[in-house]
């Protein structure tokens, strides 16, 4: 069934988009991530112009992360104070990212930078997570502790000044790395069209030592706002949010997410992390392949006068 997208100015198959949203929603519910890192590359593979894929991806992330954060809020696995601090940094980062996005687009290098960022971040985060989770699975098989949090173990981050207490996370840590992490996530969110959950979740766990059960809810909470902010700014500055496309993805996404979350509760933490790592690496490899293999045509067209 065809539907015409008013902003992308093309006719697409509605069923494919609903299914795409549903599949990504399922995975995002399963792993507790927004799913932006999957939806944007999928849209690009489906010939949606990258600039529209990024901005519309951010819009769909708002829906999936809101839906997910609601569940965590009710369960009490959401640290509002930590989320708000991350958000403050996030808004600053996202603002900067929007300008970089528009600049790269004029330069004709937007697609390249998006691909490179995806390959670099997905590849390294996925790789680290895979190593860590496989080790954790090994430890649990040999009967050891699988907890990531070992009291008394501190790294350089815990020696920074301006400390703040986060009760829900049982954490007493400097706000500098919290704001900085938020800013980096915000920057990536606006350039890559992702919520940043796949970076946020491991960073909160490994760098800030936030308890795993609070991490996903808190990450989703800040992603709602960063993605919403990104959506508004992209719509205003670049006119690249296609609300019809976003809505189709959202409807599929929120439906899939609930089923994913249900199944996710039955899996063990380290198994989930290993699966997510494998998925992240697969997307990174797919994008790297595009970058290094000779394209079908070395020429491309863009309306307007870019350099």
């Amino acid at each position: 069934m065809g539907i015409y997208l008013p902003i992308a100015e093309m006719s697409v198959n509605m069923v494919i988009l609903l299914a795409m949203g549903g599949a990504v929603g399922f995975l995002s519910g399963l792993f507790g991530v927004g799913g932006g890192f999957l939806i944007t590359p999928l849209l690009i593979f489906y010939n949606i112009p990258p600039a529209i894929a990024v901005a519309t991806g951010a819009n769909q992330v708002v829906a999936s992360s809101f839906s997910g954060a609601l569940a965590h809020f009710k369960r009490g696995t959401l640290d509002l104070k930590l989320g708000t601090m991350l958000l403050a940094g996030g808004i600053v980062g996202a603002s900067g990212g929007i300008y970089i996005f528009a600049y790269l687009r004029r330069l004709g290098q937007l697609d390249l930078i998006i691909s490179l960022l995806y390959v670099a971040f997905l590849g390294s985060v996925g790789g680290l997570m895979l190593v860590e989770s496989v080790n954790a699975i090994r430890r649990s098989r040999s009967g050891g502790s699988t907890s990531l949090r070992r009291p008394g173990q501190h790294n350089w981050i815990h020696r920074l000044p301006l400390k703040m207490r986060f009760r829900t996370s049982k954490l007493f840590v400097s706000v500098i790395p919290v704001l900085g992490l938020g800013a980096i996530i915000g920057l990536l969110a606006s350039i890559m069209g992702v919520g940043g959950g796949f970076i946020m979740v491991p960073a909160l766990i490994y760098l800030l030592k936030v308890p795993t059960n609070v991490v996903i809810g808190t990450s989703l909470f800040q992603i709602i706002f960063v993605a919403a902010f990104t959506t508004v700014v992209h719509a205003t500055a670049n006119h690249t949010v296609d609300v019809v496309l976003a809505f189709l993805l959202m409807v599929g996404g929120v439906a899939g997410a609930q089923y994913g979350a249900q199944i996710g509760q039955r899996l063990r933490g380290e198994q989930l992390r290993a699966l997510l790592a494998a998925l992240v690496i697969a997307v990174a490899l797919r994008l790297a392949f595009e970058l290094f293999v000779r394209p079908q045509s070395v020429y491309s067209l863009a309306t307007g006068a870019g350099a």
């Binding site: 065809g2 015409y4 008013p6 902003i7 100015e9 093309m10 006719s11 819009n59 769909q60 708002v62 829906a63 992360s65 809101f66 839906s67 609601l70 569940a71 004709g108 290098q109 697609d111 390249l112 919403a228 959506t231 508004v232 700014v233 992209h234 719509a235 205003t236 500055a237 006119h239 949010v241 609300v243 019809v244 976003a246 809505f247 959202m250 409807v251 996404g253 929120v254 439906a255 997410a257 609930q258 089923y259 979350a261 249900q262 509760q265 970058l291 290094f292 000779r294 394209p295 045509s297 070395v298 020429y299 491309s300 067209l301 863009a302 309306t303 307007g304 006068a305 870019g306 350099a307």
Partner: protein, 262 residues
């Protein structure tokens, strides 16, 4: 219009025909086209369409006509726009856009229909002179100091990309004669047809010689919901963005209410 009025018009028309036919029997042929509509609306279910253009020839020579000596080429040309062609080359093993050329006044789409295979209608050189076929579309770089080799390379690439996306097409047999003087052209509008003012042009050939051409404008635009969304997104982009984000929040909330499993 009253019946008398119609009759009067008809009489005038006949009179004109008779007078022209008698006083100047060797008048050259004339071509006219008529679009059934001057606006094509793109709505949410648009997935490409066929556009039919009817046309008529005046002062047809029955002898040439019966020999199949008349040929018609109909072109639907999209709005002109500035276009950048980029070229990827291999840098550090990666394929990166490194070169580009900007062309101005490039037809966004170019759809050609003709009565017979192009080589049977006229000489290749007359296609070039008239800039009829997609391969003859004149492309001018914004920067006049470009070398001709580079212009050649990038303009060829531009046409190839346009052909690959279905925007530059050629359809042999797309024009059919319905009678000695009436013809019908069927042109394909691609699903990604550019919106804006298009121009339909028709060229008449007699035994391989170009006789006359005519043109008519056609506006292709989004309609209804699509048009409102598009206009809203551009005119009140901030509010559009806020509403898009709110729609996402509502959808996320509703999805949770409907599908929740815990």
């Amino acid at each position: 219009m009253t019946a008398a009025h119609v009759l009067a018009c008809l009489a005038l028309f006949m009179l004109a025909f008779v007078v022209r036919g008698h006083t100047q029997p060797m008048l050259s042929e004339d071509i006219e086209i008529g679009l059934s509509t001057d606006t094509v609306s793109i709505t949410s279910d648009f997935s490409g369409a066929n556009l039919t253009i009817f046309g008529a020839l005046d002062n047809v020579d029955p002898l040439i006509s019966s020999q199949g000596g008349y040929d018609i080429v109909v072109i639907l040309e999209g709005p002109r726009q500035t276009l950048t062609v980029r070229k990827k080359t291999r840098v550090l093993g990666m394929w990166i856009n490194t070169q580009s050329m900007i062309f101005r006044d490039v037809p966004a789409s170019y759809s050609v229909a003709m009565t017979r295979p192009p080589q049977d209608i006229t000489e290749i050189s007359s296609y070039e002179t008239l800039a009829l076929r997609p391969r003859d579309v004149r492309l001018r770089p914004l920067d006049p100091s470009e070398t001709s080799a580079r212009i050649q390379e990038f303009s060829t690439a531009l046409r190839a990309r346009k052909e690959a996306s279905g925007l530059y097409v050629e359809r042999v047999g797309g024009v059919e004669f319905l009678s000695r003087s009436l013809f019908r052209a069927t042109l394909r509008l691609a699903p990604n047809v550019p919106v804006g003012t298009h121009r339909a042009r028709a060229f008449l050939f007699r035994k391989g010689v170009f006789v006359q051409d005519t043109s008519a404008p056609l506006s292709i635009r989004k309609a209804g919901f699509e048009q409102r969304v598009f206009a809203f997104a551009y005119q009140q982009s901030f509010i559009y963005g806020v509403l898009s984000a709110l729609l996402a929040v509502v959808t996320g909330w509703a999805g949770r209410m409907i599908f929740r499993k815990d």
